[in-house]
């Protein structure tokens, strides 16, 4: 199995190592949704890995499966040497404070019936540190740029999306976790607020030495925050590698299509919609055989339907799963 995991870097003692992750859901009538079908990657301490993909790619499912919410169907999630999938309930609860999540919708990420500071303090109370809970929560709220006094007396509905997201971040960081999993944290925020939150994450990352798994569908946002990027399509990893390399020299046709499709605020440029075929993405219940992207790929050949491509190294820290990767100079951003 060793060569299936070329993209992993065990010699560098990663904080998180995910191997052959599989998540499937029943879909009625005996069918199953193959949300994640064998995904492997790792994250080094202090690194930010972004998982990019569109609806149905399985990126959010991957994030939740890593956090064992719920446990994946198969595969291993090795967090600082421990395989989370093998832990019992109590042991898992003991480790949980070390990896925390932030979600997409800021308002429903907070209990509407609890004051903001109490929500932020709750993880501390759960951990048995009730005495210092309020103090630490206040400090954390200030650190994310909120007025602790106001937060103590108000409910989430009194705050804006951006502020609620800050509070969610405060809550996630209050237990001093090693790993922060962000599931589309800025997707439902306005552009100006998005920028505020991204800057905040940047500052906090430096200040607390966080390792971040960042899920997003927006390649431009991801460009700003990532050290490394993994592109997913229909439950599989297409391309993974160092961020700069991936943007400048994307090799997978899907990655190229994603990059081309992004609208740029420049009146002379018009995003091309030509490099993706067809109008409807295939269903994760009956994914295409072989390479799952082949039904929309303009470069597909017979072999793509027969044999599923595995991740191959194309340059240092850059791996692609494709039988006919795009030529190096053909696409990408300057």
């Amino acid at each position: 199995m060793g060569d299936l995991l070329v993209q992993l870097r065990p010699e560098r003692d990663p904080l998180l190592r995910v191997e052959h992750l599989v998540v499937e859901f029943p879909a009625g009538r005996g069918q199953r949704v193959h949300a994640v079908s064998g995904v492997s990657f790792d994250i080094l301490r202090g690194e930010t890995l972004s998982l990019v993909g569109e609806t149905g790619s399985g990126k959010s499912t991957t994030a939740l499966a890593i956090a064992q919410l719920p446990k994946p169907n198969s595969g291993s999630v090795i967090f600082d040497g421990q395989d989370l999938t093998q832990l019992g309930r109590k042991e898992l609860r003991a480790v949980r404070p070390r990896f925390q999540l932030i979600f997409q919708d800021p308002i429903s990420s907070l209990n509407p019936r609890r004051r903001l500071t109490d929500s932020v303090a709750e993880p501390l109370r759960l951990a048995g540190r009730g005495a210092e809970a309020k103090q630490l929560a206040d400090a954390m709220l200030e650190a994310v740029g909120m007025d602790a006094e106001l937060a103590a007396s108000r409910w989430p509905s009194d705050f804006s999306g951006g502020q609620c997201q800050r509070a969610s971040i405060a809550r996630a960081l209050v237990l001093d976790p090693d790993l922060l999993i962000c599931d589309e944290p800025v997707s439902s925020l306005d552009v100006s607020v998005q920028a505020q939150i991204l800057n905040l994450l940047h500052d906090l990352r430096e200040r607390y030495g966080l390792t971040i798994l960042f899920i997003s569908h927006d390649l431009a946002v991801v460009r700003n925050v990532s050290d490394r990027i993994a592109v997913m399509y229909l439950g599989k990893l297409c391309e993974i590698g160092e961020a700069d390399a991936l943007y400048r020299r994307p090799r997978h046709p899907y990655t190229c299509a994603l990059i081309e499709a992004i609208p740029a605020p420049d009146p002379t440029s018009r995003p091309k919609a030509t490099s993706i075929l067809g109008v409807e993405p295939p269903s994760p219940i009956t994914p295409p055989s072989g390479c799952r992207y082949r039904t929309r790929c303009p470069r597909a050949q017979e072999i793509c339907a027969v044999e599923e491509p595995t991740l191959q190294r194309v340059e240092d820290d850059h791996y692609v799963a494709c039988h006919f990767p795009v030529a190096e100079h053909a696409a990408g951003v300057a």
């Binding site: 925390q100 979600f103 007025d147 905040l200």
Partner: protein, 311 residues
């Protein structure tokens, strides 16, 4: 300084200033703006407050009945049988000459106690079962909902009569029996509400902070499910009062001479044409009380819905 700073490349990579206080200018939405034109107590409306006023009145009268200057409900004045409302007897008298008003007031004790207690019991039990079913899903949900369906399918009046006959006609049994009948309705509501609350990310956040299932249900779900549950609970009080009334009319509730609204109505059944006040006095009070609970519960439910995001 009159000149505007230029936006230079340096600005984009400079050392970041401390995060700005976002609260600075605009007050949060609920707060100090020319905002709350209509405060909550006003939005609840006059009908709500009238209903609450009536309920409070009846409750106070029931509690203080023994010390109020009322006529003895058990002693009849044989010279004033089946009389209509008069200065001496505000509601009139029944066929044994007993003052109807004091009988109705004393009778309200049973109705209110049973009504509140049964609804409270039903809410607590039904709420707990519903939340457990909605959050824990799988086998737990299957078993609980099966039992709920079974209870609902059984004709409720028959069940009440059977229970009180076999267990004995006292306050505890009647309260318990009526509570049993109301549990499925409240459980259904609690389950539905839990299903929609449990989908929200703050539940995932609580779990990822290490909360046990019980803790999630108690600290995260209950506060969110409680408002609609309480609103329904008030309406259920009304239902319980009617149920007790029906039981005692049929003779399956607290036996006479203790007055209850139902048995007063029963006693006046035969004299409906000649002495209608015996039926109408308790019936009218019961009607208004039940109506009041329904209005109060409904109004609270509407306000709760509006606050959680309807327009």
């Amino acid at each position: 300084m009159s000149s505007r700073p230029e936006v230079s490349p340096v600005l984009l990579v400079q050392v970041p200033p401390p995060p700005p206080r976002i609260e600075a200018a605009a007050a949060p939405a609920g707060g100090a703006g020319p905002g709350r034109i209509v405060p909550l107590w006003k939005r609840l409306g006059i009908p709500f407050w009238l209903a609450v006023g009536w309920i409070v009145l009846v409750a106070v009268l029931a509690i203080t009945a023994s010390i109020l200057p009322l006529q003895n409900p058990d002693v009849g004045n044989f010279s004033a049988l089946s009389q209509g409302p008069s200065a001496a007897h505000w509601f009139g008298t029944d066929d044994l000459g007993r003052d109807l008003m004091s009988r109705v007031i004393f009778g309200s004790r049973v109705s209110l106690i049973v009504g509140f207690a049964a609804a409270f019991l039903g809410t607590v039990i039904g709420g707990a079962l519903g939340i457990a079913a909605g959050y824990l899903r799988s086998a737990t949900e299957g078993v609980i909902m099966l039992i709920m369906d079974a209870i609902i399918s059984f004709p409720s009046l028959v069940m009440l009569i059977a229970l009180t006959t076999f267990l004995g006609k006292n306050l505890v049994n009647i309260t318990g029996a009526i509570a049993l009948v109301t549990v499925p309705v409240l459980a259904r509501l609690a389950r539905g509400s839990t299903l929609s609350v449990a989908k929200r990310p703050f539940i995932l956040a609580a779990r990822s902070a290490g909360a046990t299932n019980f803790r999630v249900m108690w600290r995260e779900i209950v506060p969110n499910v409680l408002p609609p549950l309480i609103s329904l609970g008030l309406v259920i009080v009304a239902v319980a009062i009617v149920a007790e009334g029906a039981l005692s009319f049929l003779g399956f509730s607290i036996p006479p001479p203790t007055p209850t609204w139902g048995n007063i109505i029963a006693s006046g059944e035969n004299d409906l044409s000649t002495a209608p006040q015996i039926v109408f006095a308790p019936a009218a009070v019961m009607f208004v009380t039940v109506f009041a609970f329904s209005i109060a519960g409904d109004r609270l439910r509407r306000i709760g819905e509006l606050q959680s995001g309807g327009i």
